[in-house]
């Protein structure tokens, strides 16, 4: 792969996480446990899609051939989406939604803090803008982990269940792809392997504060970064891509 292809893949690797997580949150609008959480989750979804647009517009420019942000968002095959498995997990209940968000937000904020230092000025600028939003996301999801963990017996059981179930998807956040390695070498990308210890320290501290157990399992799932997804992904994409597939080559 040449540098241009590496950069293109690198951007998708970042942006696809926001796309798929934003899509999952968008499913919940109007169905939240309270008006306030409904507004907050919709707001996070909006932030993520805003970030997605900045990344894809940049990726489209790199790719050339009049590629558009929408072609990148809607017209790839499942195997070409590079998001981690964590973000595509379904909204089983509010505990899963919050846990998925929390486990991603802690990583996302650390990642953006490093991406801000990128020598690629566009990526650095997107990181600066996104960090403000993501620091709010992290506050929101951590607060809810505390509330649910240290709330009632029922809520504790539910959030512990969600944490145990989603824990298996955390390790993949720190896997390096070929594009990652090339970008790190050029000082344009983030070495995610260096974030791992700090990530688990932060997550474990908040779980402990929330009176929750840190899972001990060392069995982890991976594949998303190589485009091998869970079975949930196809259904998510059939919603996401519905209009573009049914009415090809039209403007909206």
């Amino acid at each position: 792969m040449n540098m241009k292809e590496n950069l293109y893949k690198y951007i998708l690797g970042i942006a696809d996480n926001s796309l798929i997580l934003g899509q999952r949150l968008g499913e919940l609008t109007g169905h939240g446990p309270s008006l306030e959480t409904d507004i907050a989750c919709t707001n996070i979804s909006l932030d993520l899609f805003g970030q997605v647009r900045s990344y894809y517009q940049y990726a489209a420019k790199i790719k050339g051939d009049n590629t558009t942000e929408d072609e990148i968002a809607f017209l790839r095959r499942e195997r070409e989406y590079l998001n981690v498995l964590l973000v595509e997990q379904p909204n089983t209940d509010f505990a899963y939604t919050i846990t998925r968000q929390f486990l991603f937000d802690v990583y996302h904020f650390m990642f953006l803090t490093e991406l801000e230092k990128s020598h690629d000025v566009t990526l650095s600028a997107i990181a600066t803008k996104s960090m403000k939003e993501v620091s709010y996301h992290q506050r929101f999801s951590s607060d809810w982990v505390r509330r649910l963990g240290d709330g009632t017996e029922e809520s504790k059981e539910k959030i512990q269940g969600a944490i145990n179930a989603l824990w298996t998807y955390t390790d993949e956040l720190f896997h390096q792809t070929e594009a990652d390695k090339a970008m790190v070498e050029e000082k344009n990308g983030v070495d995610v392997t260096t974030l791992k210890d700090k990530y688990y320290d932060t997550v474990n501290a908040i779980l402990t504060e929330a009176t929750l157990d840190v899972p001990e399992s060392k069995w982890f799932q991976k594949g998303g970064k190589k485009g091998i997804h869970t079975e949930h992904m196809g259904y998510l994409l059939s919603d996401l891509q519905y209009m573009q597939r049914t009415y090809p080559n039209m403007e909206w």
């Binding site: 609008t29 109007g30 309270s34 008006l35 306030e36 959480t37 709330g151 996401l240």
Partner: protein, 322 residues
Amino acid sequence: MSEEQIKNLEAQFEERIARDEKIEPKDWMPEKYRKTHIRQMSQHAHSEIIGMLPEGNWITRAPSLRRKVALLAKVQDEAGHGLYLYSACETLGISRDELYEQLHTGKAKYSSIFNYPTVTWADMGAIGWLVDGAAIINQVPLCSTSYGPYARAMIRVCKEESFHQRQGFEIMMKLAQGTPEQKEMAQDALNRWWWPSLMMLGPTDAESVHTEQSMKWKLKRKSNDDLRQQFIDQTVPQADLIGLTIPDSDLKWNEERQSYDFGPIDWDEFWQVVKGHGPCNKERMNARVGAWERGEWVRDAAMAYAEKQQKRKRTSLKKEVS
């Protein structure tokens, strides 16, 4: 208080409204005024919340990133409107939980338009253009209604609604100028949403029960039929502009009245939907009640956590003192 004193207060109250003074939450008000306002404001808040559902139905399937972001923002605005209308309603001495209870048991109504299904993307355009358009016509006069908290909430609501309406019209315009399939989609949406939108302005004056009292309290400034005429006169040229046809063969310009004449409205359909038998009444209520019930453990947890935090704070304060 003697009957005469109450009469005196009522007379003063009506005079204040006549002088265009705002009534504020702590002011004395007749019980009927309070009840009427709770009914109307909560109905309005419920409509915003139920209204999130038909549009939320297309968030995951919006055709472009730009449209998806705009739709998310719009539905979020509606949740925001719900939030401050519930808050405004709470100033009249009723809680949001009580208002939800009224919605969930069917005691309180919401706008019937949201009991129609959103079956294509063009419905997002039609709702913005027609439904929000009709809502604005209903709501602009409320910016100067007599109850202060309601009037102030409506100023903000109307600003955002008019933005939504332009956005909806722009969706329709883009479709109408697009491929034959897109144009057909737009026309089909107009055909389905036109008549229900006209019904949104309420039953004909002859059948409207609340009008006279509401006029006096400035909860209403024009009759339903006048508002409907205003909506039609405003919307027909917009449809012409983008080359769509209003689905009414009786529609024609009346030179003498300087207004459009229009065909008969199917009021049987209107009452069927109002009485709970529209295409989506049950789906909407199930979605709302379902979300509320599924969320109970979450709200309980938040409450329990807040109480624990408060207790901890008190204990640590006590320790500091001793």
